[in-house]
Structures are given as structure tokens and as C-alpha cells.
């Protein structure tokens, strides 16, 4: 029914530093359909933001392929056609730094319109008012500067800016993690509304699994530069497979017994994410894993396997049925 909008195939992004090569993103593949929200979840240092920046064109990939509407865009952003830049927009985590404090809101919202030669100055002003209305801010905000706005309002402006060029894909890089929950709720609901109205696709980068439960169509978990599990949201939360996913889920502080019951039997969280400069051999997670399947985990990198239709996991425990079902929910 809906067609593939973004395809990422075996994406790698390494950074060469004096300490060694940082393998920030290593062999990451996923796709995003039209009108879909893919939640990319991971801890800090997992490489989720690097994926976002590479897709939007802030980094050029070390290797691998990115396609947008079947067109190859895996080159640096300077070589990317302008109309594609128009179609892929990004909202950053901290609107305090992503909005230029020396510009008025009008200037900020006009810039993408100018860059893409959309309308004359009167059209642009109308469009700015319209954009502000869209994000439910009063029109006279266009004369204000970002620092006179609250954190939530600033993020609305950042979203309005992303919407200015009429994009198809918006990358949301932790858009609400710096905000209070009451404001987060407002922004999330607005994003969902825009998605329905404009058939937008979102790549939603976050560390908040509870949020993804309510927002994402599919959820992908990243750990140490690799995706370790992907599934449809309902399937993902009903039957998480990867030991890391279970650890994440069982670590979430929740507010009700019903939610408590959703968590896999307590896998106590241990250890910390290793440095991406010094990736452990084999499965990156084996140093923290509570159900290491044996020597193979520290020697061979597991393959991504489809265990259920649409449910992929990268773990040596699958697909072979193993006696280690002590980790299962019962």
C-alpha cells in the first residue's frame, strides 16, 4: 500500500580520531515507508544521532547506501540536489542552540524559503504567519527572538522551520528530551497531527521507549553502532527478543502496575556501553549480556534474522530454540 521512502543499506560511518577509529555506525540497514514513524532507540553512544546526521547529509557515509524515493543520496550533502534537501528536514534536540539567537523568528522561518526560492517577500511573510499558526503560536511571535520564548515554544519554532519547505521525511533527533512531560505531550500530539495531515514520515531518534510505544509504527533498537532488533511496535512490546531490549525495557521506571506487568521479568541491568573506539569482538553486547549463548558470542558477529514476519533480531540465541528460556517472560 504505502511505498518505501527511505532506504538505508549497510550504512557505515567511521570517524578517525587520534585515539583510533570510532565505529559510530556499523552496517546499519533499515527502511522507512511513506507516512510511517520509525523509532530509533538507543543509549548515548549507540550511534543513533550519527545515523540521523548521515541521512540528513551532515556527514557523508564511510560506506553503504542511502536511497530516497529510489534515488541514491549516499554522497555528501554538497552534492545532494537541492530539491532533496527540501524533502528531508531535521529537528534537533536542543532548540536553544539550533535556533540562531541573533535572528528573529521571522528570519529563522524565512531562511529555508529563501534558500529554496519559495515565493517573493510578501508570500514568505504570509507563509511564516501560516507556519506559526500551524504550530499554534501567535503571529506576532515572528518579531520575537528565540531567547524570549520558552523551551517548548522554541521547539515548536524548530518544527515550523522543518515544515517550511514541505518535506516528506522529518528526522526528529530527541525533540522532546530536553522538555517537561506536559510540554512533551503537546509537541508529540502536534507531530502526530502533522503526520496525518501531510502524510509525513518520521525517523524518530530517542532513548525513551515508553514514548515510542505511543508514537512509532516500528521500533529499532541500536547498540554500539548496530541495530540489534526491529519490529512493529505492538509486536516489539508484546514479545521483545534481544537480551539488550529486555534489559532496556526492564530498566524503565513506570507509574502503574499494568506497565510493570509489561516489562520482561527483571533482567538486572549490568555494566556500561563500551567505547565505540574499542568495540568488543563478536556481538557488541556480550560484555553485558546476562544470557551469553557461549563462546560464539565473543567471536562471531551475529547475523540479522527474521524470527517472526517483520521482527528482526541480531542474536546468537535465535532462531535455534535454546534451553535458555529462563529469560522469557514466564
Amino acid at each position: 500500500m504505502s511505498s518505501k521512502l527511505l532506504g538505508v543499506d549497510k550504512l557505515q560511518k567511521f570517524f578517525i580520531t587520534s585515539q583510533g577509529t570510532v565505529r559510530a555506525v556499523d552496517q546499519v540497514s533499515f527502511s522507512i515507508m511513506e507516512g510511517e514513524t520509525l523509532g530509533l532507540v538507543g543509549e548515548s553512544g549507540s550511534g543513533k544521532s550519527t545515523v540521523a546526521y548521515t541521512v540528513v547529509g551532515l556527514h557523508s557515509p564511510t560506506s553503504g547506501k542511502i536511497t530516497f524515493e529510489d534515488r541514491d543520496i549516499s554522497k555528501s550533502v554538497s552534492k545532494r540536489p537541492k530539491e532533496l534537501k527540501k524533502s528531508i528536514q531535521i529537528v534537533f534536540q536542543d532548540p536553544g542552540t539550533s535556533l540562531n539567537s541573533r535572528r528573529t523568528i521571522q528570519q529563522i522561518l524565512e531562511l529555508p524559503l529563501k534558500v529554496h526560492h519559495l515565493g517573493n517577500s510578501r508570500d514568505r511573510k504570509e507563509r511564516v504567519v501560516e507556519l506559526l499558526e500551524r504550530v499554534e503560536l501567535p503571529a506576532d511571535y515572528m518579531y520575537k527572538s528565540p531567547h524570549s520564548l520558552g523551551g517548548g515554544e522554541r521547539q515548536m519554532v524548530a518544527i515550523a522551520r522543518a515544515l517550511a519547505t514541505g518535506p516528506k521525511l522529518i528526522i526528529l533527533d530527541e525533540p522532546t528530551s530536553a522538555l517537561d512531560v506536559s510540554i512533551q505531550a503537546k509537541i508529540i500530539n502536534m507531530l502526530i497531527k502533522f503526520q496525518e495531515e501531510m502524510n509525513l514520515s518520521y525517523l524518530f531518534i530517542t532513548h525513551d521507549l515508553s514514548l515510542m510505544r505511543n508514537v512509532a509504527t516500528r521500533v529499532a533498537i541500536m547498540y554500539l553502532g548496530k541495530i540489534c532488533e526491529v519490529a512493529e511496535t505492538s509486536e516489539f512490546f508484546a514479545s521483545p527478543i534481544h537480551p539488550y531490549t529486555k534489559m532496556l525495557l526492564s530498566s524503565i521506571p513506570v507509574v502503574s502496575e499494568e506497565e510493570e506487568a509489561m516489562k520482561p521479568a527483571k533482567i538486572t541491568s549490568e555494566g556500561e556501553i563500551p567505547s565505540p573506539v574499542n568495540v568488543p569482538p563478536g556481538c557488541g553486547f556480550h560484555t553485558r549480556c546476562t544470557v551469553v549463548a557461549g563462546g560464539i558470542c565473543s567471536q562471531e558477529i551475529p547475523e540479522m534474522l527474521e524470527v517472526e514476519p517483520g521482527h528482526f533480531v541480531r542474536c546468537h540465541l535465535y532462531p535455534s530454540p535454546l534451553p535458555v528460556d529462563s529469560i522469557a517472560k514466564e
Partner: protein, 328 residues
């Protein structure tokens, strides 16, 4: 849980700035009993940290100024104590863990340097150098840091965020305080590391029978950490209840709004957040400071500050819906 350890009575704090006076705390009232774990929840800027800074007398002044109120620790008013006496309370009486361990630790001293001076100046008894070292390594081991002797000689930058926060926990507990104030100790950590630190804190607190005030903006975290929860909004404590009671039966419209706005693991979408935003302190709304955002606001809400209604032994709420209508 019988004896009152700390009680804050009608605390008012103002900040003097160029534009005028910000009335940041507007009559805080809270009690911590011996051995109790108290949670203080509220959104950014509601005055959680400010009120705790008053307890340790580390509120920067100017601009901060305590204009009214009492803070009784073991029945004695902290606010009237002298510097020397306060020095004794900080450390062995009350200690604090800060949100950002990177900022709380001095980057140019080793963990050992910082930890030993805390033990040396904060302990009740005077200890020999050897004893201090032994205790320092001991607390590092207690917070489950691997190889504590090595960590003792490390600089903060050599540790990860989670390890640094463990060091801060060690530092706060090294002097065996009666009351520990933990100010969002896990906010800057990843969820799996947060889980580890919370479990560690809970274990240590239980073992040492320390009373705790746990500040957080996360209702989920407070549910794991507290016996009694206070909810703060714009400089007022608007609700206080036993944890189970609060989550089963939140009374204040703001608490309701907060709980609804929280994304749930069970799904079902996210309710509309609370309309509007936190008021400016320069000119806060009259009466109940929440009334401009409150869906159930009544006439008297804008006229006078709602009294604290004692709805049951486990529940207090400051809202006119539950009584206290002072009709003329």
C-alpha cells in the same frame, strides 16, 4: 518512622533581580521523618532545587533571599545557625548528591583527594590518615566500583558518567549522614545506568537507615525511590501523599495532568498536555498559581491561596475542590 527529622515550615524565598523581586518559593511546607524516603517531584523551574539549597544553606545570596520561614533539623532552626555549626551539619547531618556529576567533581583533583577531604572534614569523629584512606576505599567498594584502589587515584575525566555518579554517591554517604538529599541524581544517565544507580542508592539507604529527599521530575523514578511524595508547582507544594495513594488516587488537577501527559508502556497514545506554561515568577498568578492552566478552576482559585486540605492520613492536597471554600 515516628520522629520528625527535618521540617520545613512556611518557607518563602525571593530572588532580587534588576526587573524586580521573583517570588520563587511561596510557603513551602514539608516534613521528613527518620528513616523515610521522601520524593519531591515537579517540572523544571518549580523550585525543587532552590528549596533544598535552603536546607543546606547554599542558596547564593544575592540574589536569593529567604524572606520567611523555618527549617528545623532535629528541632533546631538551620536558618539561625552560625557558619561553624552549619559546617557540622553538612556532611554528618545532611549531605547532597547533585544532578551533574561532572560539574560536582573537581576535574583537577583525583577522586581520592576529593573523597578524603570530605571524610576528613565531614565526619563526626576525627580519623587518622590511615582510617580515612580505609574508609574512602571502603565507600568506593560499597558503591560497587570495580577496583576501588585504582579509582582512588583516578581523575574524574577517566571515569564514565555512571561511574562518576557512583563516586558522588560514595562521597555523599562517606560521612554517614542522617539525611541525604539527592537532586536528580540519575537525570543525566542512560536508562540502564539509571536503573543500576537507583538500585544501588536504594540498597545503601536501606542498609545505613538514611533518610532521603529525592528530587526528580520523573514520576516513574519517584515511584521506585520514595515512600512519601510531594508534588511541587511554581513554588508551592500542591500535593503530598503516601506513594501508593498518590499513584492510585491523584487529587490535584496538576498531578492529574502530569500523570496523563506521561507516555505509558501500555500504549494508548498520549493525552493532551497541560495547556499553557509555568508562570513567570516576576508576576505570578494570584491565588492558586496553577489556576490559569487549571481545567477545573473556580472563582476563588484566583482570589486566595488554597489551604492544605488533609483528605486522609495519607494524603494532603492544596486545592479548593477538596474543601476550604472561605465563602463570605
Amino acid at each position: 518512622m515516628t520522629e520528625t527529622l527535618l521540617s520545613i515550615e512556611n518557607l518563602h524565598v525571593q530572588f532580587k533581580i534588576y526587573e524586580g523581586r521573583l517570588s520563587v518559593l511561596n510557603g513551602i511546607q514539608m516534613t521528613v521523618h527518620t528513616g523515610e524516603r521522601v520524593g519531591l517531584v515537579g517540572e523544571a523551574g518549580c523550585g525543587k532545587t532552590t528549596s533544598m539549597k535552603c536546607v543546606l544553606k547554599i542558596l547564593p545570596s544575592p540574589p536569593g533571599e529567604i524572606t520567611a520561614g523555618k527549617i528545623l533539623f532535629h528541632g533546631r532552626d538551620i536558618l539561625t545557625m552560625g557558619t561553624r555549626e552549619m559546617q557540622h551539619i553538612r556532611g554528618s547531618g545532611i549531605s547532597m548528591i547533585f544532578q551533574d556529576p561532572t560539574a560536582a567533581l573537581n576535574p583537577v583533583f583525583t577522586i581520592g583527594d576529593q573523597l578524603t577531604s570530605v571524610i576528613k572534614y565531614g565526619s563526626r569523629e576525627s580519623l587518622s590518615k590511615k582510617e580515612i584512606y580505609a574508609r574512602a576505599v571502603g565507600v568506593l567498594r560499597e558503591v560497587q566500583l570495580p577496583d576501588p584502589e585504582r579509582i582512588f587515584n583516578n581523575y574524574p575525566i577517566q571515569l564514565s558518567g555512571g561511574m562518576r555518579q557512583r563516586v558522588s554517591v560514595a562521597m555523599a554517604l562517606a560521612t554517614e549522614p542522617e539525611l541525604l538529599i539527592a537532586d536528580e541524581p540519575t537525570t543525566s544517565l542512560d536508562v540502564t545506568i539509571q536503573d543500576q544507580v537507583l538500585r544501588l542508592l536504594n540498597g545503601l539507604v536501606e542498609q545505613h537507615e538514611t533518610s532521603v529527599i529525592f528530587i526528580t521530575h520523573s514520576l516513574g523514578v519517584v515511584r521506585e525511590m520514595a515512600d512519601w511524595v510531594y508534588v511541587m508547582y511554581a513554588g508551592n507544594i500542591i500535593e503530598g501523599a503516601r506513594k501508593e495513594e498518590l499513584f492510585a488516587n491523584p487529587l490535584h488537577p496538576y498531578t492529574h495532568g502530569l500523570m496523563n501527559a506521561l507516555p505509558k508502556l501500555t500504549g494508548g497514545g498520549i493525552a493532551e498536555g497541560i495547556p499553557g506554561r509555568i508562570p513567570e515568577y516576576i508576576n505570578p498568578p494570584s491565588g492558586c498559581r496553577f489556576h490559569p492552566r487549571c481545567p477545573q478552576a473556580m472563582k476563588q482559585c484566583s482570589e486566595s491561596l488554597p489551604p492544605v486540605i488533609h483528605t486522609s492520613d495519607d494524603h494532603d492536597v492544596a486545592c479548593f475542590q477538596y474543601g476550604g471554600e472561605d465563602y463570605e
